[in-house]
């Protein structure tokens, strides 16, 4: 039923199976989905050898995660892999909400210019995975049909038992990233569970291939004429494939509802009796808003769906997972490289648990709006929708999914709080906004690309700061220019302003003026160094 030609990646026995003594790996990643692949590539590009284990020999079955946010694309662009995805994906930014057959309102996700990457692209998960698999560097040992069946750890390492077509072997790692999905075998093996809510309401995903003249927008209907009493979402993917998502109610039978003789009449009612389409993929799901209590368990880190689940309206599952590993990769690299102690890894929980709670909060609110649980809840929902057409205030209350926005690590222990006055710009913990800049040679570039993947300083109209860190200087002699003033505006830059940027392009600290010692103190804090180390062992002394 699928028009996608699934690649097959061959099984190969591991060196451990051939009787070779394998050293303890720095990092083993479990699960070659978008999250596992992203961290394997990130670490691999940082020169850290990674073993990536996957129990299958192909990519995602079905389109699954399709909406990739600007922040995710910026993370993937840091790995220099975004451009083919953007080229292949469907670029969109407008959403429309309908009630019955009338448009209630429309929204535009990126009303401003001057960003390298779009607000969102839609691209099937299998395309994303295939592109990432093809981009894995030599440092990543990608093992297909290597299924982890047991895992245990002591103070120094993690031992994994892996099952293959040729039998079992054991291997060891200093750290493990479990990106093995909602049904994580790692989570089960450690006897850990999710906390949160699972909702009764069932939804049907039907991917169809068709030539249609719908615009490239997200269309969401409450109670449409073709699907009375439920909601429907229409969203375009690459290759003329359209995602259609029907709310079925709590009593729908998941077995019969996925049968074509049940699905096709729903699609014909929506698309018209003459519409020509092929069914690509069908899935039934319920909303889940839950997470593990903690994502770090000793030397094992959970990331993506293995750590948390949200409802799909809002695109917070796949994007949240990519942001998890964006946060974790540089920390693991710093610890393995000796620039930071193991303490830095605790900040993964400090930062990603609140980020996950933000996603779960938004997801739960959307769920309550889309699927009212009581007559009164439904009355308020319908009141909002009936007011929204005339009354702009009510549009702000319409919730068909609050689309993923990057989380700001507001209370992070790695951030140095502002001591100088800023009226704008990203505060400590926030992700860096992009802006177009121009080099001394007149070449156009993007600020985020220049910030790169290591600690860096962004300095405005000032001489270089006395530090070993890479410095991106805007204005001043030999610096980049800011032709449209967008960098200055987005960062609230004044002469002398300096931002310390983390390897994941979040702000660690910022000042109106900074000397080398000030920057070093913030850098130590951003690496979770002990307080005493900050005072006695500045960078140069090491």
């Amino acid at each position: 039923m699928s028009s996608f030609d699934y690649p097959t990646y061959p099984y190969r026995p591991a060196p451990e199976q051939l009787g070779e003594t394998a050293p303890t790996s720095p990092v083993i990643v479990i699960g070659a989905g978008p999250v596992g692949l992203t961290i394997a590539i990130d670490l691999g590009q940082r020169g850290i050898p990674v073993i990536l284990l996957d129990d299958d020999d192909t990519v995602s079955h079905g389109s699954r995660a399709i909406c990739w946010s600007k922040r995710t694309l910026e993370i993937v662009d840091r790995l220099r892999l975004a451009e083919p995805l953007v080229e292949r994906g469907i670029n969109w930014r407008v959403g429309r909400v309908f009630r019955n057959d009338r448009e209630v309102y429309r929204f535009d996700l990126l009303p401003e210019a001057g960003h390298k990457l779009p607000a969102f692209i839609n691209l099937q998960q299998y395309h994303v995975e295939q592109a990432l698999i093809e981009a894995t560097p030599e440092t990543v040992d990608l093992r297909f049909r290597h299924k982890v069946v047991a895992i245990c750890q002591d103070a120094d390492r993690v031992e994994l038992t892996v099952e293959t077509p040729d039998g079992r072997y054991t291997t060891k790692a200093r750290y493990v990233v479990a990106a093995d999905g909602a049904h994580s075998t790692t989570r089960a093996a450690l006897g850990l569970s999710f906390e949160g809510r699972v909702f009764d309401e069932r939804f049907l995903i039907a991917d169809v291939k068709m030539k249609a003249d719908f615009p490239t927008e997200r269309w969401f209907w409450f109670d449409p004429p073709f699907h009375r009493g439920g909601s429907t979402l229409l969203h375009r993917q690459a290759d003329d494939i359209w995602r259609i998502d029907f709310q079925l109610g709590p009593d729908a039978d998941p077995q019969s509802e996925r049968r074509p003789d049940r699905v096709l009449p729903r699609l014909k009612a929506m698309l018209g009796p003459k519409a020509e389409f092929d069914l690509e993929w069908v899935s039934i799901y319920t909303f889940r808003c839950r997470r593990m209590r903690r994502f770090r368990h000793g030397r094992i880190f959970f990331a993506g769906d293995s750590a948390h689940q949200v409802s799909p309206f809002g695109a917070r599952g796949g994007n949240g997972g990519i942001q998890d590993v964006d946060n974790l990769a540089w920390k693991l690299a710093a610890v393995l490289g000796g620039q930071a102690s193991d303490r830095l890894l605790d900040s993964y929980d400090d930062e990603r648990v609140p980020a996950t709670d933000e996603n779960i909060l938004n997801s739960t609110r959307s769920t309550d709006f889309i699927t009212p649980k009581t007559a009164t809840s439904r009355a308020f929902r319908d009141a909002v929708l009936s007011l929204a057409e005339d009354a702009p205030f009510a549009r702000a209350l319409v919730n068909s999914g609050r689309l993923s926005t990057p989380h700001s690590y507001a209370d992070s222990p790695l951030s140095t709080p502002d001591s100088d006055a800023f009226t704008g710009g990203p505060p400590p913990g926030a992700p860096c906004p992009d802006a177009p800049i121009t080099g001394p040679d007149g070449v156009s570039a993007w600020l985020l690309n220049q910030l790169g993947g290591d600690f860096a300083l962004l300095v405005f109209e000032a001489d270089p700061v006395d530090t070993d860190l890479r410095q991106v200087r805007i204005g001043g002699t030999g610096g980049w220019t800011d032709p449209e003033g967008l960098a200055a505006g987005r960062y609230d830059l004044r002469p002398g302003t300096c931002y310390l940027i983390r390897p994941d392009q979040h702000v660690a600290a910022r000042w109106r003026y900074a000397d080398g010692a000030t920057v070093r103190r913030a850098l130590h804090r951003a690496r979770a160094a002990e307080h005493s180390t900050i005072e006695t062992a500045p960078m140069e002394a090491r």
Binding site: A375, T376, A379, F380, D382, A383, V384, S386, L387, A391, F393, A394, L397
Partner: protein, 67 residues
Amino acid sequence: MVTLNLAPNIPDPDGFYERLIEAHRGLSDADSALLNARLILLLANQIGDRAILDAALEKAASLPIER
């Protein structure tokens, strides 16, 4: 902490009350619920102050449910 104004503030209270009941005349319970919900949302937006709205929610919920 904001103090909710519980002193008389509606001119012609009998007239307002009559108007409120009149608006619901002939409506089913479900339609009345929708009308009330619209009314609450419109008034809440008019007030536009989360502290007052929260205080009103708290006051309404704090009274015993009696019929």
